[in-house]
Subunit: 407 residues, 4 copies
């Protein structure tokens, strides 16, 4: 990785070592969405050490504000939550943490989406910019957002009045680690990340003895038929030139093999890049679930909406300013313009809630960008520490300076 940032705008070796320590600490102490209590406290301690004042927002969210004279207000967001995954990376600093899901289930927890690198990269950028106060002016808003994985965190911060408590920015920036090669960055103008809709479906049958199917109604066979039939939404109801995903991510039914249970419950995650496609998919999914229940002689299942992620849209004008800054940060040959991603983010809400443009990009985390390697949400997802963290820091510094830098 070759940065064109001036020497003083790069991490010192001591700062870098500190970031590594911080990263491992976050990695070993992951917390589930909206339960990021220790994570928030650790961030607060770090901000305090840097002399940055902060306030809590949206429960476990933290907002730090650095006022540095006249000039634009720019916000940069890092998300802080982790996932119910049992880490299998074999890393020395692997997580052994556990947590409790809202339904009471105890689960292992892992930073399987790499948000620990987001926190660390933003703290690194804050440190560099504070050390170089004379080279920029304006106001920097550091947003450490909880609950991204459940689409709850950005909404909670807005609900809690983040834009009443912090100055309104003219742009909101954010970044995410990916399985790309460490030291590279990719970005797309326009649609950047998919809409997501998530539902919990409860199929109610009639419980009976496992040896007497005729006396009950089997919700597992019905729900399995739904899962099978849902495959035809993408394969038959959409143009092959359109993009959508229908994933059944959980399926839970029954406590004992010799009882046909009363209910089966599964959850759905649906992605789309376009409102028409989204509407076609949502209608088809609901139609199939209801019809398969009817095929099994069951009542209409209960479909409970879990959340909706909006389209994450990268403002084209703002991208025109971000792109050269990224090229400066990691070298022009290391910045790619890419297709939209089917992943989703609630990042966009932070800007759209107040009509402000936002830009979001991805930085690589693997030594060689192996396309067959583990991806986000895999129990094996293990970004290398360097050059990942330095690139994340440099990218944040450089893009913030694109608005805040003195000439």
């Amino acid at each position: 990785m070759t940065t064109e940032l001036t020497a003083e705008r790069q991490l010192t070796e001591q700062e870098r070592q500190h970031l590594h320590t911080l990263y491992k600490e976050f990695h070993q102490n992951p917390e589930l969405s909206m339960q990021e209590h220790r994570t928030a406290e650790r961030i607060e301690r770090e901000l305090t050490a840097l002399g940055i004042s902060s306030f809590r927002c949206g429960g476990t969210g933290v907002v730090g504000i650095v006022e540095n004279g006249d000039g634009p207000v720019v916000a940069f967001r890092a998300d802080t939550d982790a996932l119910p995954i049992e880490e299998a990376t074999g890393l020395e600093y692997s997580s052994e943490a556990t947590g409790t899901l809202p339904d009471g289930t105890d689960v292992p927890v892992m930073h399987g989406c790499g948000h620990d690198s987001h926190i660390t990269g933003l703290l690194g950028a804050a440190q560099v910019l504070l050390r170089n106060r004379e080279t920029w002016s304006g106001t920097l808003v550091l947003i450490f957002q909880p609950g991204e994985e459940t689409a709850a965190g950005a909404a909670a911060m807005i609900e809690d009045g983040i834009w009443d408590k912090a100055p309104r920015p003219e742009v909101v920036l954010g970044q995410h680690v990916s399985p790309g090669k460490a030291g590279t960055v990719d970005i797309s103008a326009g649609p950047a990340m998919a809409m997501a809709d998530s539902f919990r479906v409860t199929v109610t049958g009639r419980q009976t003895h496992g040896s007497q199917p005729q006396n009950g109604k089997d919700p597992i066979v019905a729900a399995a038929a739904m899962v099978t039939r849902l495959q035809s939404v993408v394969s038959r109801e959409l143009s092959p030139l359109d993009s959508a995903v229908v994933t059944v991510g959980t399926f839970h039914a029954g406590l004992k093999e010799n009882i046909i249970p009363e209910t089966a419950e599964f959850s759905l995650n649906i992605r789309s890049l376009d409102e028409d496609v989204r509407s076609t998919v949502l209608n088809a999914v609901e139609r199939i679930i209801n019809a398969e229940a009817a095929a099994a002689g069951l009542e209409q299942p209960q479909m409970e909406r879990l959340y909706h992620f909006p389209l994450n849209y990268n403002d084209e004008t703002a991208v025109d300013r971000v792109l050269p800054a990224l090229q400066k940060a990691v070298g022009a040959q290391n910045v790619a313009e890419s297709k939209p991603r089917m992943g989703s983010e609630d990042f966009g809400l932070l800007g759209s809630a107040i009509g402000v443009p936002s830009v979001f990009w991805f930085f690589g985390g693997t030594p060689d960008g192996d396309p067959e390697g583990p991806v986000n949400h895999s129990p094996y997802f293990a970004p290398v520490i360097e050059p990942t963290l330095t690139a994340a820091t440099d990218a944040a510094v450089s893009t913030l300076l694109a608005w805040l830098g003195r000439s």
Copy 2:
């Protein structure tokens, strides 16, 4: 219900009230298979109060022995365990108990199979017979067996040497509550209850982000295909004149809707009345599971045997003695000869382990024998206390006397 038992061989009103209290106590304190610690202690207290010596066998099993002069040895077995079901009967004495499955899951527990009535009926019969010692001679072996639902209990008692510690009987008797009309009994000569085979199947895919199916292998879609395809075993591979059941009683996969999980796990319960049919079904089930994994590009799933229940066979000669005794107990018009049942029991092992015949019958538990009503293993299964318990007691007294009665 009209019994032809003499007055002294019937429950006194005071005994009946005591049995009702006992029954409710067992019903409110159900325990999972092989964890029947308090149940065993309660049975022991009751035997002690009756002056019957007992010993523990197979962990939570209890064996009481009543020696009453020369004569045959006869064993009568009641099973004692309950199920992971959340009771929904609305009964005043409903269970609110919980328990922990072997895998660590906390679950509600209910006597959803009615074993509480088995315990109570056998204790009632013991009391009546002790009060009428002069009218019979021989040895009565009272077996309170744990872990019937998991096919573990009879095997555990045999393993623990029940037939070394207790005298060997010439017949083993047993009974089970059913959704039939309270006060009636039904029995079949020859094959009485099905063989059962149970397996846990673990389908291993490759975990990935829910928006990137192409980067993983979806074990939920694969396992759903297995559930769907398994329906064709009974529908296409067996003669319609043969009998078998293939039930998938549990299906568990995934912790979060936006992660395609690494594994899906389901459990199977298979019933058959005939070794050829059993073999056809087991082969077909394994073939389908392996082939559906191959269809999904997955490795062969792990199939772990949970248990095997043998065929529960009613010795025809012994039935010839039991049948008139049952008719005497509840009235000839209330005794039916029935087809075999697809339910399974480890009861038969207690006799077959030592080459001794056994007989097993069903007594009704509902006011009107409504064929549409809740059945065993339903959260609504709620036998009426009377005449259910009196009939169970009378049936046990009368059949025991068929071997032990003087003249």
Copy 3:
């Protein structure tokens, strides 16, 4: 095979050779249901040669009447139609015949159900009985019924007034070749053969280019889902102790691989032994077909009833007379009492239409009764000529004499 029929009541060697020739001639000239024109003519020629008067009834049906003094009237029925199967037996006298289905499709034709042996056996019995006129008295009605495979023939003969034109019998007898061992017979009292219901289902989608599924509605995917889901009727909605079959015997859709067609058509054949089971199955089948169409966003498919076969019920009193006659014909050790068969017959209609009892049995056709060997409707089904035809003749002679024989 050991018969106890007197020598004169057995086939002479010359008669037997003639039957063999006749059998091969029928086998090589099979005709589809209700198109048995040449078959009817050949039967008529044979009856004429025997001096038996006959009349046409129900189109291609033939009825021969032999009046032989006072006494009971007894009818014996042989069915005459063949199937759209391409013979693969490799027999020297294999069929190379073709025919045209009602929908215009040209198909190969084979006596794959063995009706050729039914015709021959009944002609053989007529010959023997005519040669022994002095040993019996009464009236013999020989029914050569067309269209059994489509349930059309018995109804057509009744509709055409068979029982106005022929004297009313006191019993109707009939027999069918099976894969059992040649020279043996089996019979069941009470329910003998299943009810059958057959439907043609037309699933209407919306035709489109094969590369544009989003512009049409795929009826093949919908109909495949129906076939798959129908497997759960037998596996989940019936007691394993009940008997039913749901077979999809045909599935036709599309003319070109790059067009998603407008419609898919399949046909269903449903068997049951009991009205309750039948009703459960028919309701479930219709429910599933309609719901799967809804899942695919299609209109309710058209379900056209093709036919209904009634339960073929063997009158118990008449069986008491048939059974010893069969034992006399083929030896007591060669007669078995069997379970009902899931096959269906319109035979029962001939008696039930006028309230007359009927009895139907099976005679084996294979050298060793190999249970793995080809069965009726297989392209490999190839009864051996002897002792099959002699047994069929003897069984018909002996059972007819059970009513008609002098002392």
Copy 4:
């Protein structure tokens, strides 16, 4: 539609009427692929009338050559075959034609893909250019290609030496009618139409009586499972940002509802825009078909390749010349640059076989371009005669002149 072609380069009213007559004649006389005998004769008569010499090539292919002095050689291709579809447009000039598929099935035939408009448009362009000989110079090669729908025709013409018999062109042009608005044209540079792969799959079970599934192996249930499971290829194994189609266009099994047939046969049509995606899909399809056969206990089905269509690639440099010519022909506002189409063409082979670039575009055929209306291969697909045919003619004239026109 507004053309900028000079008056003399437009159709005269008389010419237009003649084209209409020709179009209806072709529409009413459609012929199946590689059987376009009368169509070829009719084209030849028309070329002769125009004074154009022609030769047969590839059986029913016709090549006309117009030499007009020095200059480039340019080829223009129209395809001539029709489809096995029963026309349902209700048009006065509807087809009532029938044809015979290679397997002997008699089928209705329709110009359901609109190739009749291709023939007519090219004949119209030839007429206009012959009338304006003085305004251009070079050689025009008119290719009337048979068998496009089966990917057989272009290959047959190349095999038959078209480029030995006709002068080698520097570009090959072609066009296709679409459901777009009549008078408009759309084109994409680079990948223009998908690769297609087509297979016939024969699933072999074991035939038996419909009431005895246990004695056979049901190929219909197995093939239905394949169709169902194939839906997961697109839904689970591809990136949602990639494009592919897996269509089962035909499914044929069984002749009688009460026979489980020996075999089921279906055909597959697979589209892709990229070799990697194609390879993933082909592997997955084969894997699923083999595994589902194994699930049913069947041998590996026979998969017979029917054809492969290559990617239809529009040479970017040639598009740069075609695009303004199309804008001139129908007005700039009526020309759109579009995404690739999932449809396939063997058009590209005519150029790629000799390393010559080619360009292919679409002209609309419906009054209003209704996106919900019938598409190619629908029995309701009914392009309006005008302005469809005039636009097709103008587009051909204008693009040919882009190479051949005198300044």
